[in-house]
């Protein structure tokens, strides 16, 4: 418990990074939600409800901040060399990393909640929100995905230990490598980490048409499970790497 407190204290006492991330997130959310909502109700039958979907899709961009914060929670200790002091105080390294993973998970959760709230509040300036059960489900999935992205980032950070390295790997994988692999191996595409995580944050309509997920190899819960397995798998690899490697 005290390790969790110490890890949370580390995040809170590095205010510039945290404020920078939160401000970036809020700015993105306000601009995105504002421009989406101000484009007004579409001519579609469901009017504001459709715009609500689009506004919520803006909130999904917040997951990138969860990913980056997850990476930072682990790698800034290596970057600034404070990992030495951390491992001196708690030589059971797996406990330190466990606490960091929990903090990354909770931070991802918190950032997503912040993002959804900002996006919805911004949107009310232009449209009347019509939140139905499906919307709440999507919000729940965004929050879950964001927490998992945070954990994934922390796991990758523990594995690579390099801040720049982890961020480069993330972009190369999710922006270049995964789409290429998905295009090459169609039957395999649904199982890739980016795709499983992205499915969690997609809403039930695609292009205004109800989408029941039957084009996918498996359902939403299975996607959540697979995404969780990726995040936990990386966390386990990261822990093994931290246990094995010397601290220099």
């Amino acid at each position: 418990m005290r390790l969790l407190y110490a890890e949370a204290l580390k995040v809170r006492t590095a205010p510039r990074t945290l404020i920078g991330l939160a401000l970036g997130l809020v700015a993105l959310a306000v601009l995105g939600a504002g421009s989406t909502a101000s484009s007004g109700p579409t001519d579609m039958p469901q009017g504001d409800a459709n715009v609500t979907w689009d506004v919520l899709s803006v909130a999904t961009t917040g997951v990138i901040f969860a990913l980056i914060l997850g990476i930072l929670v682990v790698t800034w200790e290596y970057r600034h060399g404070t990992i030495t002091q951390t491992f001196l105080a708690t030589p059971r390294r797996e406990r330190v990393l466990g606490a960091k993973f929990v903090v990354a998970l909770v931070s991802g959760f918190g950032l997503a909640v912040l993002c959804v709230v900002v996006v919805l509040v911004t949107a009310t300036f232009w449209i009347s929100l019509d939140l139905r059960q499906e919307h709440w489900e999507l919000i729940g999935r965004i929050v879950l995905a964001s927490a998992l992205w945070g954990l994934l980032g922390a796991g990758l950070g523990a594995l690579l230990q390099s801040q720049v390295g982890a961020i480069v790997v993330v972009f190369v994988w999710f922006v270049v490598a995964e789409p290429l692999i998905a295009a090459q191996f169609d039957h395999f595409a649904d199982y890739l980490p980016g795709n499983t995580l992205n499915r969690l944050t997609q809403h039930g309509t695609v292009g205004g048409i109800e989408h029941d997920g039957q084009d996918y190899s498996f359902g939403l819960w299975a996607a959540a499970f697979i995404a969780g397995a990726y995040a936990l798998g990386l966390a386990a690899l990261g822990t093994a790497s931290a246990l094995w490697r010397d601290v220099n």
Binding site: R2, Y5, T13, P15, G81, F87, L88, D246
Partner: protein, 298 residues
Amino acid sequence: MLVIEVERLTKRYGKTVAVDDLTFRVTPGRVTGFLGPNGAGKTTTLKAILGLVRPTSGTTRVLGKHYRDLDEPTRKVGAVLETSRYHPGRSGRNHLRVVAAAAGIPRGRVEEVLELVAMSREAKRRVGGYSLGMRQRLGLAAALLGDPELLILDEPANGLDPAGIRWLRDLLRSLSARGRTILVSSHVLAEVEQIADEVVIVHRGRFVTQSSTAELASRASARVRVRSPQADRLRELLTGAGMKVVEMNGGALAVSEGTPERVGELAAANGIVLHELAAEKATLEEAFLELTGGETTA
């Protein structure tokens, strides 16, 4: 019980051997200087003792256990490693609060150690703006948080000005007087000879010697410094009498394996004028240089 045991420790990085079959022990309640030139493997050894570096072979134990198996290590062992590093955006006080939180140490202790290292006034500033000396003090404060019985300090005087070095020496003395065991590494013997009861000397990762500081000092052979306008003649006479003579800067002769009395008598008997005759005690520094083959950056 032994406080630190290093048993046949070897650490290789690729083809480089940083520590080579090193064995030594640290006994409780004493200040032990851990000496060697830069690159002798001191930091690697300390990191192995502290469980940060995995030995290639051999073992290290602290208070009878592997560091990893210690309960509440912060309350038993305090360590300051070379160039302690911090998150630059965090204040000194917050850095200590984080360490205290992880070790379950009450927050009030943070103010006590800040006072102890004379950093209370700077504690709310961001560490990014600290001088090297202030960082060293903050590192010591972190090491002292748990009021540990053993302190492991890697080159703690680095970056301190003369007043700071004196302050450090006084602090270590007072800790030692309160029964704490201290292992302090340095590449400059002069830094630790005033406070160390014992020294362990390493060179190129290998054990050179372990002895009390007094014993090491007595091993440093005494010599005689003599200056004469008839230096060449004197030199012949001294060498003839079985003494070893080396010419020093400024034309003086350094005579070993002789006493000032014998040198003076020999000169008088042969009518040689002397301008200077003095007994010189070789310093610990010279003994150290002799043992490590003269390699040092000091």
